[in-house]
């Protein structure tokens, strides 16, 4: 008995609609974010992550309104990420009703932002999102290596993913959202090597993301990947499985869940 592992459905939102693409192309419409969030809340989601993938400023105002609406109806933790560049953006999202804010690219350009933000708002609401890709496989002589990528996985930064996660935790990140850009959207399961390497290296909770295609993948993320929470989008958006199905399946496999 103790702390449960979490299931977090993720809403990628573009211009006020939930979308889901395969490796950021081939976007499919998955509905109104408020309705989708309400549905997941009813199904027993442990948290909701809202990722704003809109590029324009005008659409960002839509995002703030959507977050406000979700937060007044859904009484579980809500994380908002995408386009967070400075403390003012964080303040805006927290004021709209977000409980945590995800920082990704801005942390790479300015790691001190994570330090400032966690000092000002508390580590508990600062999630550092990491998009990583494998750059070399494990051999007899060396360990596998993953690097941080930006621009939807197109641009390498040369930064080692495990070192980066460790640094971000030391700078005050309260949680790491780890996405494998190799696996994202292809439904073959998490990159378990990456997940385990990062989870074991840091002392803050890690959310595994990218690649869930079935319920066994969620189990693998926790048992093999050691993840504290698992994030998925398309298996829930298109009705293949409910959050309840996923929780029941994980519990049957010996994982402590909130049922």
């Amino acid at each position: 008995m103790g702390l449960a592992k979490r299931i977090i459905p993720c809403l990628d939102v573009d211009n006020g609609r939930v979308v889901k693409g395969v490796q950021f192309v081939d976007i499919r419409d998955a509905g109104n974010p408020v309705e989708v969030a309400r549905r997941y809340d009813e199904q027993g989601a442990d948290e909701i992550t809202f990722l704003d993938i809109t590029a324009s400023h005008e659409a960002r105002d839509t995002t703030v309104k959507t977050v406000e609406k979700i937060a007044s109806e859904v009484f579980i933790p809500l994380t908002v990420g995408g386009g967070i560049r400075e403390c003012q953006d964080i303040r805006r999202m927290l004021n709209a009703g977000a409980d945590k804010v995800g920082i990704n690219t801005a942390a790479i350009h300015n790691p001190d932002l994570v330090r400032q933000a966690s000092d000002r708002f508390g580590s508990q609401c600062i999630v550092v999102a990491i998009d990583a890709k494998q750059v070399s496989r494990a051999t007899d002589r060396q360990k596998a290596r993953w690097e941080i990528f930006t621009h939807g996985g197109r641009k390498s930064t040369g930064i080692d993913a495990i070192e980066w996660a460790t640094k971000m935790a030391a700078y005050g990140a309260g949680e790491i959202l780890l996405t494998s850009m190799d696996q994202d959207g292809v439904k073959k399961g998490f990159d378990l090597g990456l997940t385990r390497a990062v989870t074991d290296a840091v002392n803050v909770p890690v959310i595994a993301s990218g690649g869930v295609g079935n319920l066994q993948h969620l189990v693998d993320g926790v048992i093999e990947g050691h993840a504290d929470a698992v994030l998925a989008a398309s298996i829930f958006h298109f009705g293949e499985y409910s959050i309840g199905d996923a929780k029941k399946y994980m519990a049957q496999h010996g994982i402590e869940m909130r049922l």
Partner: protein
């Protein structure tokens, strides 16, 4: 003119109180929920919520700078008062956070850091007790003593926690609910009309909302 305030949420400028205000308005739509730092309004409310987010050093400094420490102490003698997370910690005598901070002292306990406890567990080679910090997520709460605020909530129900500092259940006689995270921690405590929770009821779905409903309907008697 303003209408009388039923439920006052104390705002001392430390971040997001929207969640708690929204949750209270949701469960008590007919009551006037107010958020602010005006001592007179806080004292006039029937129920007072003392929330908390962030580091205790800044929280206590802000509470004192606004003269709210006296207000909370006064409220604690007369009406139902709910402390949430850092608000609960602020009710204690002292916290180890930020190099040691004196708190309001409504209750005599000391707030400790999980990592200090886990380092001790590691030295004792009790690896089972070494866990990640913060304690983040849904943990079970064991109801160790009966209380009116447990009404409609199952034994062992899960609530959402996110914190790095804790009150040890073994040291706090006011504990009415405990959770386990490497050590037994006080999840819920009650002392006369003071009630406090380490978790976030406003983020704990149905059971959290039920607890808030129980609080706003409570007259402060145990």
């Amino acid at each position: 003119m303003t209408t009388a305030v039923d439920i006052a949420v104390i705002d001392y400028g430390m971040g997001n109180l929207h969640s708690i205000a929204k949750a209270l308005r949701h469960i008590a739509p007919q009551r006037n929920v107010w958020v602010g730092d005006d001592p007179d309004i806080i004292k006039s409310a029937s129920h007072v919520v003392y929330p908390g987010v962030g580091a205790i050093g800044d929280c206590m400094a802000e509470v004192r700078a606004r003269g709210l420490d006296q207000v909370i102490v006064e409220v604690a003698q007369s009406k139902p008062l709910l402390g949430i997370c850092v608000g609960m910690q602020g009710m204690m005598a002292r916290s180890d956070e930020n190099g040691g901070v004196d708190c309001l002292g409504l209750l005599p306990n000391r707030v400790q850091f999980f990592s200090d406890h886990f380092k001790l567990a590691k030295r004792l080679e009790d690896q089972q007790s070494v866990l990640k910090v913060p304690h983040m997520g849904w943990n079970q709460v064991e109801q160790t003593q009966p209380h009116p605020l447990w009404q409609g909530i199952d034994e062992g129900a899960r609530f959402y926690f996110v914190h790095s500092y804790f009150v040890a259940a073994s040291e706090c006689p006011f504990t009415v609910g405990k959770s386990h995270y490497g050590i037994d921690i006080t999840a819920m405590l009650a002392h006369d009309n003071i009630f406090a929770v380490q978790f976030h009821p406003e983020k704990s779905h149905h059971d959290g909302l039920q607890l808030l409903k129980n609080f706003v309907n409570w007259d402060g008697a145990s």
